[in-house]
């Protein structure tokens, strides 16, 4: 594909939303790249493809799947893999990512990213699915750490060890969602800084940042909800800096999918990410990469 880069620059990008098409085409903002949810561009034609084609001609693109159910027990949906392949061929995204989660059971698609137990059984399953995706799309994929609200008593792996092993076995990269780390660690009483410090930095190919909501569970414990509906909070910015100190500069996405703000506010969040990246990398000129 002409124009617009075959790699994602190590700076901030934002999730592309239909309500911002006109701002983007009118202002041609200086933003590093855009990410889209693949499933929103699976119609035959119409304005979604027309806008995405125009924006893709000027900006690098990352394709983010939210429906493959990679952690599901059932076989991957071959029709859906074909739809993804068609998008990859058409838009030549520089990155393709999906989630360590499941979302389909038999004929039902739940439209949510559901938690997976971390066991030898599911590790084999997820690795086989990741292999299949990479082979079908003929590209390396990034697998994203989930935000979770429950854990499974059957789990025998810690999440970082589990993701590390998937990356080692399949050669896939990892999308480190720092907000998800924060949400899951608060929800399950774990140390988010320790999670970041142990994460396999060399496998990271992208970072996600987002805002989250807060509730209480039945025991009155904090229960954070990965809602993508508000600005990134300070503790997550701090974790982001801690991450960058280990990984070096990374393509960093601001995800804002609900209560979507004016373009200017989203753009300002991307600026903030760039500032944190610049400041962090100045402070540690030779990042230690594990």
């Amino acid at each position: 594909m002409a124009g617009a880069g075959t790699t994602i620059p190590s700076r901030a990008g934002v999730g592309l939303k239909a309500c911002h098409y006109h701002d983007i085409l009118g202002d041609k903002p200086d933003i590093g790249w855009f990410e889209v949810h693949a499933e929103n561009f699976m119609g035959a034609g119409g304005p979604p493809h027309a806008y995405l084609s125009t924006i893709r001609a000027s900006y690098p693109l990352s394709l983010h799947g939210v429906g493959l159910s990679i952690g599901g027990i059932e076989d991957l949906d071959l029709d859906h893999l074909d739809r993804l392949k068609a998008l990859v061929d058409r838009y030549q995204p520089a990155l393709f990512s999906e989630h360590l989660a499941w979302s389909s059971h038999r004929t039902a698609f739940f439209n949510d990213l559901l938690a997976v137990p971390y066991t030898d059984e599911t590790l084999d399953l997820v690795c086989a699915h990741v292999d299949q995706v990479q082979s079908h799309l003929n590209c390396k994929m990034l697998l994203e750490n989930p935000a979770t609200y429950v854990v499974f008593e059957t789990s025998t792996y810690d999440e970082v060890d589990y993701l590390s092993e998937i990356a080692r076995r399949t050669g896939c990269g990892l999308l480190l969602d720092v907000n998800n780390v924060y949400v899951s660690c608060i929800n399950h009483g774990r140390d988010a800084a320790d999670y970041i410090d142990r994460f396999p930095a060399a496998a990271v190919g992208e970072i996600h940042l987002a805002g989250h909501g807060e509730d209480r569970d039945d025991e009155g414990e904090r229960l954070l909800i990965d809602s993508h509906d508000r600005p990134v909070i300070d503790p997550v910015w701090e974790l982001y800096g801690r991450t960058l100190a280990r990984t070096g500069a990374q393509p960093t996405l601001i995800e804002w999918d609900n209560n979507i703000p004016e373009w200017s506010e989203l753009f300002a969040q991307a600026h903030l990410a760039n500032s944190v990246m610049t400041r962090t990398l100045q402070n540690c000129r030779s990042p230690h990469v594990a």
């Binding site: 119409g46 739940f110 599911t122």
Partner: protein, 255 residues
């Protein structure tokens, strides 16, 4: 092992009355209903939002609480069968008609049908419309045997209610004032997206029956009696109006 747990998880997601699988816990080893309910809420809220995005006029007509109630009932019975959510909710218009609460608004189902047609048109394949010159170029002796090929986005809807006027009122800033001036009759709609904008136009009953016949595959020779001596427009007038909508992309094979 995971197969069994996933099955229990899925069942508990679908039915709030089903117990949360015992293998799920919070980190303290206790099963937290509220934590599991985050997933239940995510599933319901995401699908209700998807329906609200596809059916904005129905949403506006009945109000947020009412819409969410019907949509929640729908999502409990019908989940998407694949991850492409623009295809979710095809049965929602029929479902609305089965809900007791909607008997006072009998036009809702048909307004929903119109919105579904708009949604399908929005995402349909792109195709450049033909001009009526294509017809003028055809040899006279073959015209009666010609059929018209419709744009992939084209849809026809007939209703006993003024659904196009209701829909159009909601494209304006103040739908309530316009809703007071609705025509006291049913309307027929042609939905088409010849370029980047979906157009919904009202057809009179004669034009509707003619276009519907062509849409269903009849030739001009077969369909033309539906318009001859049936109103102010002659056959060429009806054809010019139809081509003007951008709904025609070519002629069927001349045989």
């Amino acid at each position: 092992m995971w197969r069994k747990t996933q099955k229990q998880f899925a069942a508990a997601l679908r039915d709030p009355g089903t117990a949360v699988p015992a293998t799920i816990s919070d980190t303290g080893g206790k099963v937290s209903l509220k934590r599991f309910n985050v997933y239940r809420n995510n599933v319901a809220a995401g699908l209700i939002d998807a329906l609200a995005a596809t059916y904005p006029v129905v949403h506006a007509l009945v109000g947020d609480d009412f819409f969410k109630g019907i949509a929640r009932n729908f999502t409990r019975l019908f989940l998407p069968d694949n991850p492409v959510l623009q295809n979710y909710g095809a049965d929602f218009p029929d479902f609305i008609g089965t809900q007791n609460e909607t008997t006072s608004t009998p036009y809702l189902s048909d307004v929903a049908r119109l919105e579904w047609a708009w949604n399908k048109a929005y995402h349909a394949a792109d195709k450049v419309p033909s001009s009526i010159a294509a017809l003028a170029d055809a040899p006279d002796e073959l015209v009666a045997n010609i059929g018209l090929r419709f744009h992939p986005s084209a849809r026809l809807i007939q209703s006993a209610w003024p659904i196009v006027s209701i829909w159009q009122a909601h494209q304006e800033n103040d739908p309530q004032s316009l809703l007071g001036q609705l025509p006291d009759r049913g309307e027929q709609a042609l939905v088409v997206r010849p370029d980047m904008t979906v157009h919904i136009s009202t057809l009179d009953p004669v034009a509707y029956s003619f276009i519907k016949a062509l849409y269903d595959g009849q030739t001009l020779g077969q369909a033309s009696p539906l318009v001859i001596d049936r109103g102010p427009l002659d056959l060429s007038g009806h054809l010019a109006a139809l081509f003007d909508t951008g709904a025609i992309v070519g002629l069927s094979d001349l045989t």
